[in-house]
């Protein structure tokens, strides 16, 4: 029996760079989430992929927002099928790298604590 695969095209790169896209194939498990696939990729294929998440399962930390096929979703609750999906960072937040954007509330920014000029664009 051939293994079923989920396919993801993932936007890579930092601010000011032309976005690059990497394709990944991930072993498909019934009911798996986009976050399951991103964690699998970091663990097994490319640990340089930047993603942000905390609670992993519970959908309470609200840190894992990304765009899947141009729609904003929580990666932890967005289900994957076997049709390919395009995964990119939020477009209304400052890009840090790959799928990670600056979602830190203004009063909680490290740059503020360090007395640095506001890095908001």
């Amino acid at each position: 029996m051939t293994e079923r695969l989920a396919r993801l095209k993932i936007q890579r790169g930092g601010p000011g760079e032309a976005p690059a896209y990497d394709d990944f194939e991930v072993p498909y498990r019934e009911g798996m989430s986009v976050l399951d696939a991103l964690i699998w990729i970091r663990t097994n294929k490319d640990s340089s992929l930047a993603i942000r998440y905390s609670c992993t399962n519970a959908n309470t930390c609200k840190e894992c927002m990304v765009r899947v096929d141009e729609k904003t979703v929580y990666a932890c609750t967005k289900r994957l099928g076997t049709t390919p999906v395009l995964v990119g960072p939020l477009t209304n937040k400052r890009l840090l790298r790959d799928l990670v954007t600056d979602i830190v509330p203004p009063r909680e920014k490290l740059s503020l604590l360090l007395g640095e000029p506001n890095s908001e664009e």
């Binding site: 930092g14 601010p15 498990r29 019934e30 009911g31 798996m32 989430s33 399951d36 964690i39 970091r42 663990t43 097994n44 294929k45 490319d46 640990s47 340089s48 930047a50 993603i51 998440y53 905390s54 609670c55 992993t56 399962n57 519970a58 959908n59 309470t60 930390c61 609200k62 840190e63 929580y74 932890c76 609750t77 289900r79 840090l96 790298r97 790959d98 990670v100 600056d102 979602i103 830190v104 509330p105 009063r107 909680e108 920014k109 490290l110 740059s111 503020l112 604590l113 360090l114 890095s119």
Partner: protein
């Protein structure tokens, strides 16, 4: 070199314990900085807590904190630090009422706080926020208080990598700026470690990503001691299959308690009663350690479910009753293709909480002057097995105390920052930063998976001398393999560097568990030895772990006892 940030009290970690500690330090007059490697109030365990908080507020029925203490000590299998346990039980009602004043929204009934029964409690004692919303409500409420506090600054995305100790006392900390990969230096007269537990070290867990044992490793490396590291609590009925997204894997407990869900093996038989605890389908009274052990034994005997656990069945409950108990949760289950009227789900013990931790006195201070701990990071209050509902209580109580006593302790002390004392901590970040750019291919994330398998296999629910020795050798090799500084770097969002510091912490915490588990040659509470299946009264003592150079040492220490009189409830106020 000048330090980047100067403060009186630095609080590391922003779950309930850290946020409470920060609010408390600030209101007791200390200039306070609260930092988190994730986002303030969003990482860690608190926000995931769906269940209940134990406190003898006595609103549902007469209660007194000494009765809560009696239940806590009984659950702890003789190893609780009775001073810490008494503080936890006596002050929990104060914190519950304070949170009530802060409008957390505890569930109410007939004008009083609603309190429910939970396993191991003698009375209806546990408050909560509907539906399955206790943790998010706690986080929201404390975040609001933090926003209102005057002399309190806060920062997300700062990973503390070392506590700086100078002349035998805390001088501050060094951290990794996640956005830039640079080192950040913080001068502080006191530091509160509230960085949570270590359940992420296990393959099956209910942990968030930042629960890899940071607090324990930071404490050990600063020269503080840990206590009873062998006691990792496994939650007996963590969700296993089918894949459930958007829900905490420990969500089944309150429903099993409310409705009497049946725990079945692959032959459709109830089995927990075969392991020394009489439990019928209408009662849910087996302690967590007994239920976890029973499931493990059924799996070992070939009577497990397909995914390697047991079935939890609500099929005997009428649909209307399910709807009444689960509320809107039943629709979230339906979205996961789970219909409880049709079939059971598969559950398994999962690593859930750590009883062991940083050794502190009643002021929450470690043996290193100026270094405090709070919340799950603290060891000792819960002995060999934590009573359900005590985790958030201790986060509130120990957090408030740690902040208050840290603010008190700094007094007129001047900061003792020294660049020399911080040098190695700064250098290891700088060294990582200069490593040639990004590394693709499997990296440290795959090493963590390896560690999780080792811990699950040999340092989990059932341990033996051979398994522990094997695990220790593997973990020691990994400690050697990761080298002295991060081997991959990122120019923006320094996840690879953070992962190296995380893994170093996880490996130290893992070896501390193993070393302590090797020393305790008996079975007690959450520590079960296949080769020493009985409890040994001669081992009714605590085990203390220290880091000497790179090596861990374990020694016995007598229990901290504090006799108390159980207050008759008629006489209670």
């Amino acid at each position: 070199m000048t330090v980047d940030v100067t403060t009186d009290v630095l609080v590391v970690g922003s779950g309930a314990a850290g946020m409470y500690a920060a609010v408390s330090a600030a209101r007791n007059g200390a200039d306070t900085v609260l930092v988190d490697k994730s986002l303030i109030g969003r990482g860690g365990a608190t926000i995931m807590a769906q269940m209940t908080v134990a406190a003898a507020v006595g609103e549902q029925e007469p209660d007194h904190w000494t009765h809560h203490l009696q239940d806590t000590l009984e659950s702890g299998r003789g190893l609780c630090n009775e001073e810490l346990a008494a503080i936890l039980c006596e002050e929990a009602p104060l914190r519950i009422r304070e949170l009530d004043e802060w409008k957390i929204g505890w569930a109410r009934e007939d004008g009083h706080m609603k309190q429910v029964m939970a396993p191991g409690h003698g009375r209806e004692r546990c408050v909560y926020v509907d539906f399955l919303n206790t943790g998010p409500a706690v986080a929201r409420t404390l975040r609001t208080q933090i926003g209102r506090a005057g002399n309190l600054r806060r920062a997300s995305e700062l990973t503390i990598t070392s506590i700086v100790v100078n002349d035998g006392q805390v001088a501050g900390a060094v951290g990794l700026n996640m956005e830039t990969g640079a080192a950040v230096t913080i001068q502080a007269k006191a530091v509160v470690l509230a960085a949570g537990g270590l359940t992420r070290l296990y393959q099956r867990n209910s942990a968030s990503v930042n629960m890899g044992g940071d607090a324990y490793a930071l404490a050990l490396r600063a020269g503080a001691e840990l206590i009873d590291m062998e006691f990792v609590q496994f939650f007996p009925i963590g969700h296993l299959a089918p894949r459930l997204v958007g829900m905490d894997p420990i969500m089944w407990d309150p429903f099993r308690y409310k409705l009497g869900g049946r725990l079945l093996n692959s032959e459709g038989d109830e089995f927990v009663q075969n392991y020394g605890h009489a439990e019928t389908s209408n009662k849910y009274t087996a302690p967590r350690d007994v239920a976890s052990f029973a499931i493990l034994q059924e799996v070992a005997a070939g009577r497990g479910s397909p995914a390697g656990g047991a079935y939890l069945s609500f099929e005997h409950i009428p649909e209307a009753d399910l709807r009444a108990a689960f509320g809107p949760v039943i629709d979230r289950l339906a979205a996961n293709d789970i219909d409880l009227t049709k079939r059971g789900i598969e559950v398994s013990p999962i690593a859930h909480y750590h009883m062991g931790g940083v050794r502190v006195d009643g002021h929450m201070e470690t043996g290193v002057p100026g270094l405090f701990a709070a919340g799950e990071a603290v060891g000792g209050a819960n002995g060999a097995n934590r009573l359900s509902g005590n985790a958030l209580s201790e986060a509130f109580v120990f957090g408030e105390r740690a902040g208050r006593f840290a603010a008190e302790a700094i007094g007129n002390r001047v900061g003792s920052w020294s660049n020399e004392a911080a040098r190695s901590a700064i250098d290891e970040i700088m060294a990582g930063r200069h490593v040639a750019t990004r590394q693709s291919g499997p990296g440290l994330a795959s090493m963590l998976v390896t560690l999780q398998k080792i811990m699950w296999q040999d340092v989990g629910l059932l341990r033996t001398a051979n398994g522990l020795a094997n695990a220790r050798a593997l973990v020691q090799n990994m400690r050697w393999d990761i080298g002295d500084y991060p081997g991959a770097s990122d120019h923006r969002f320094a996840l690879s560097m953070q992962e190296w510091f995380d893994l170093r912490n996880s490996l130290i915490a893992a070896e501390a568990i193993i070393a302590s588990a090797q020393t305790r040659t008996e079975s007690r509470g959450a520590h079960q030895r296949g080769d020493f299946p009985r409890t040994d009264v001669d081992q009714t003592h605590n085990l203390i772990t220290r880091l000497d150079g790179e090596g861990l040492s374990v020694m016995e220490a007598p229990l901290v006892s504090k006799p108390f009189n159980l207050i008759p409830l008629e006489a209670a106020e």
